[in-house]
């Protein structure tokens, strides 16, 4: 029976792809097979557009235990512990139903980490919305959805970021990152190995929710998206918690061969992936799948995206001992099939064959797409600095406006909706550069951050991507931890548009370059394309989730000043980097120019200098100088510690503009504070690392002051900073 265009639209396959399916099968697929192939060939599951580009990213390193391809990546963090982590997008569901969209995003990433055998111990969220107040409903819904899920599961949300730009008005970015811990020898893999072993489906019963969610995520949003609301799933964090605990109880069980989370494309994807990785096949009897609704067709069972489900590959004959643990947590489970050896995914309903597709047709044989790349017209972003006066009219007023800017102001209204302390391990709480959790029972600290400036990437995706990685690395280093590995989420518009595909290419090149220069492998990640509303794309937004390690967390640093009478130094060189800055926007109403250059060799030297100084115990605090520039960073150090700072008047010198000194966003810079007795050593260390340091002043008092030039009270700054999110 020939397929209709309507049917192809429903499964989101092109006519060309359909022809390829027929070629590969050597026959027409039936409806169930077509549905299964459709979801697995969706961009969301197959990465058919991004895969050729992603190969450019480095993924190996001495600490890497598991690179891309499993449920999550894993690195060795010392003393027999592995950190397992991944970031994932839930943009489209959140656009349609912000609370559940965000909540199930958190649920999905927790399961990815739990499926590796790890106990999830930290969550971070990277969010982008349109401006407030218009985006208030989405912003509030997403934040409470994240809290609603994470708080109930009992995993602390320790970090993340949120930015507001018009480009995200219809299509927010909601990326959730999770990190888990597991003794290295207990790392699990999602492999359906051993012919005759059993497929045990555990957790929630299967319903009709979320069918075609993966396909939905691979289409642009438009007026009809609202009708897709049923494709957004509803989360049950309590069930998820039971699932995580049960998997932890099974951590040492040799009856469990492999674990695979059920996420996008549900059972179809989970079984195909697990069989594909093991080079095996699988037989599923949909009649054995526990349902929460009556009358579900095999098609619906295979494509349901019901949440809180996990596929366990269990040794034949040992299912009872596994099910006993699941029952202890009141979790349903059922043997729904077995591992086979013929490389096919067979679906039966009782005695009736429903589908039979080679596993590789579902997975590796999905055709990749190479698209046309063309740089967009950037003339509207042209910037001539000579046309802009070099002195801010009133630096105090400008600083206060920047501190109140929704992108730079205090995140307290968000952070306090998340339990960031459960687990008794959060040794650096949210609000600084990176958060840190300790591994209880050791001195090891794990620092985590997410970063990614869509603004910079819109102006220059190559530079923007480098900045995202450099800034994430500075955030980690500001805690005294060494950056070790990355998980990334690439959020882009419709890649069929040549300028979007060009942005994707440039971003990945920039990332690859920065990763190599800073020795940072990317061990896991996710790509979210088609982030368009009514034909308008979001800013190219690579979100970098970075993880760092410090051997002794008692040596950690925080951003706020610690003591009165400490010296405050600016580390690094400042240039006339005003392109894309928040200063230009706030002071001159301009969003234009080229983002700051990143000198990767210099960046690396600065990072090593800060790490050496921190390890030697010379520093009392360290803070990355980022968006908003030096003055904003200084204000943040003051606000976090409720301590002021006083110094001699600033002068730019050379051809450095005064506004660039105060508010420029030059990369590779830190603010550090240290006791005066450490000065000789820090000067030596700076010489050794060839790093420029400049004394700015001394901590203390209740004002940020450069004598005779600039003075603002902590109270005024705090009022501006705290009120920014309304």
């Amino acid at each position: 029976m020939p397929v209709t265009k309507k049917k192809l639209r429903e499964v989101a396959l092109s006519e060309q792809e359909y022809k390829r399916v027929v070629e590969l099968l050597d026959r027409q697929p039936n409806d169930v097979e077509l549905g299964m192939i459709g979801v697995l060939w969706s961009e969301h599951c197959s990465y058919k557009t991004s895969r050729p580009l992603l190969r450019r990213l480095p993924s190996s390193g001495s600490r890497v235990l598991q690179g891309p391809g499993e449920n999550a990546g894993a690195i060795d963090v010392g003393e027999g512990w592995a950190a397992v982590f991944k970031i994932e997008s839930h943009n489209h569901p959140s656009a349609i139903e912000p609370y559940q969209g965000a909540a199930t995003g958190v649920g999905g990433i927790l399961r990815d980490v739990a499926a590796m055998g790890a106990r999830p111990v930290a969550l971070l969220d990277s969010l982008r919305f349109g401006p407030l107040p218009e985006s208030r409903r989405l912003f509030d819904g997403v934040v409470s959805g994240i809290g609603g899920y994470g708080n109930c599961v009992g995993v602390p949300t320790v970090g993340g970021e949120v930015y507001f730009e018009p480009a995200y008005a219809g299509n927010p970015v909601v990326n959730a990152m999770c990190l888990g811990l597991v003794p290295t020898e207990r790392l699990r893999k999602a492999r359906a190995e051993g012919v005759g072993n059993l497929l045990l489906l555990a957790g929630a019963d299967t319903g009709r929710d979320g069918i075609h969610g993966a396909s939905f995520a691979s289409l642009e949003l438009d007026d009809s998206s609202e009708e897709r609301r049923p494709a957004v799933q509803v989360g049950n964090p309590f069930l998820e918690k039971c699932l995580i605990e049960a998997l932890q109880e099974l951590a040492e069980s040799t009856a469990v061969i492999g674990i695979q989370d059920l996420g996008a494309a549900g059972l179809t994807s989970a079984v195909a992936e697990a069989a594909s990785k093991a080079g095996s096949g699988a037989l599923i009897d949909v009649a054995e799948v526990p349902r929460r609704e009556q009358g579900m067709s095999p098609y619906e069972v295979m494509l349901s995206e019901s949440q809180e489900r996990m596929l366990l590959i269990v040794k034949r004959g040992r299912q009872a001992e596994v099910q006993k643990v699941l029952e202890r947590w009141d979790l349903h489970s059922a043997v729904i099939g077995m591992v086979t050896g013929d490389g096919h995914l067979d679906v039966v309903e009782g005695r009736e064959q429903v589908a039979r597709v080679p596993v590789d047709v579902l997975t590796s044989l999905c055709p990749t797409r190479t698209l046309e790349a063309k740089p967009p017209d950037h003339s509207r972003y042209r910037l001539d600095l000579t046309e802009i006066r070099e002195e801010p009219a009133d630096p105090t007023a400008t600083l206060l406006r920047l501190l109140a800017h929704p992108n730079l102001c205090s995140r307290r209204p968000v952070v306090r909706q998340y339990d960031h302390m459960v687990g008794n391990a959060t040794v650096v709480r949210p609000g600084g550069d990176a958060a840190m959790i300790r591994i209880n029972g050791t001195q090891i600290g794990i620092a985590m951050t997410t970063d990614g400036s869509g603004r910079y990437c819109e102006l220059d995706p190559y530079l923007g991507a480098q900045i995202a990685i450099a800034e994430a690395a500075r955030n980690i280093v500001a805690t005294g931890a060494r950056p070790v590995a990355i998980t990334d989420c690439l959020n882009f518009g419709n890649p069929d548009k040549p300028d979007v595909y060009w942005q994707l290419e440039e971003t990945i090149s920039g990332m690859a370059n920065a990763c190599r220069a800073l020795d940072l492998p990317i061990v896991s990640g996710n790509v979210s394309l088609y982030n368009d509303t009514d034909g308008r794309s979001i800013y190219p937004t690579p979100v970098i989730g970075m993880v760092g390690v410090i051997d002794d967390y008692s040596k950690r640093l925080e951003a706020g000043f610690k003591e009165d009478g400490d010296f405050v130094l600016l580390v690094g060189v400042t240039a006339n980097d005003l392109g894309g800055s928040h200063y230009l926007e706030v002071e001159h109403g301009v969003f234009a120019g080229r983002p700051p250059e990143v000198d990767l060799l210099q960046e690396r030297a600065v990072l090593e200098f800060i790490l050496a100084a921190a390890a030697a115990g010379l520093l009392r605090s360290a803070h990355d100088v980022a968006e908003g520039g030096m003055l904003v960073a200084l204000a943040e150090c003051c606000l976090m510690s409720k301590k002021g700072m006083r110094g001699p008047p600033l002068s730019a010198g050379g051809d450095l503009r005064f506004d660039a000194l105060l508010f420029g966003e030059t990369q590779g810079r830190f603010l550090v504070s240290l006791p005066s007795r450490s000065m000789p050593e820090i000067q030596n260390l700076a010489r050794k690392h060839r790093i420029e340091i400049q004394m700015l002043g001394m901590t203390g008092g209740d004002q940020l002051e450069f004598e005779g030039q600039f003075k603002v009270s902590l109270e005024e700054m705090e009022r501006a900073h705290e009120g920014g999110l309304g």
């Binding site: 309590f238 039971c242 009141d330």
Partner: protein, 235 residues
């Protein structure tokens, strides 16, 4: 001295309490599974934070019917120490071991942030190492911690001196601005008339180490250990 920590499936402060008891206090801990009735001879039973059975209906509404709670109620009625923290406080109100109820925070949002507590009672086993009027810094983390009681019950509680902790400013002033969730009379923790059942919304187990922000919570644990050791020695 042996602590029991009750574990409902949705409990998540069990391991935090266990970590404090074992690693910080060096005392013994037993985890008490919700389906079991045996309290294993524990001297003090902690009902920790979490979402007992998901708490989609009402916090603690299902937990009160669990097998373990039958034993906890009997234990409390015989004078045993029962200490409800956060979700545990909610469960104690649901079971009727403590008066009143905990409803949604006034702001209708979850709140996880430091709170300051004015100590009203220093004569309890839980607070024996403190002074009346002392201020503790202990964080809250809840969506439904807004203490409510009808006027008669509230006045009874106050008359009996059952309020143990009130939210206050760092300087100890009990004012509306220091109230994070809308609790009546800034109530953060109460005790039953007999003084053996304590319920509190803040999380003392999260303030038992300097590295995690302070040791004010540890003072409560130490009070219990010291008092119980005295009793155990005396008997």
């Amino acid at each position: 001295m042996k602590f029991g920590v009750v574990v409902f499936p949705g409990t998540w402060s069990d391991r935090d309490c266990g970590q404090v008891i074992e690693q910080v206090l060096g005392a013994e801990v037993r985890y008490l599974w919700h389906k079991d009735r045996d309290l294993q001879g524990c001297d003090c039973v902690i009902l920790p934070g979490g979402f007992s059975y998901g708490d989609y209906l009402r916090c603690g509404a299902i937990a009160r019917f669990s097998p373990v709670m039958e034993s906890v109620v009997t234990f409390a009625e015989h004078g045993g120490l029962v200490w409800g923290i956060c979700n545990g406080f909610q469960v104690l109100c649901e079971t009727g071991l403590l008066p009143g109820a905990l409803i949604r925070n006034e702001a209708c949002q979850f709140r996880c942030e430091p709170a300051h507590l004015f100590v009203e009672r220093a004569d309890l086993i839980y607070t024996a190492n403190l002074d009346r009027g002392a201020v503790l810094e202990i964080p809250i983390s809840h969506g439904e911690g807004n203490y409510f009681a009808d006027p008669a019950t509230l006045s009874q509680i106050e008359q009996n001196g059952q309020v143990v902790f009130r939210y206050c400013q760092p300087d100890g002033l009990v004012v509306p601005a220091a109230n994070p969730n809308g609790s009546l009379h800034n109530i953060a923790g109460i005790v039953n008339e007999a003084g053996n059942v304590l319920g509190m919304m803040p999380h003392p187990e999260r303030r038992a180490e300097v590295e995690l922000g302070g040791e004010d919570g540890l003072k409560l644990f130490n009070s219990v250990v010291d008092a119980m050791n005295d009793i155990l020695v005396a008997s």
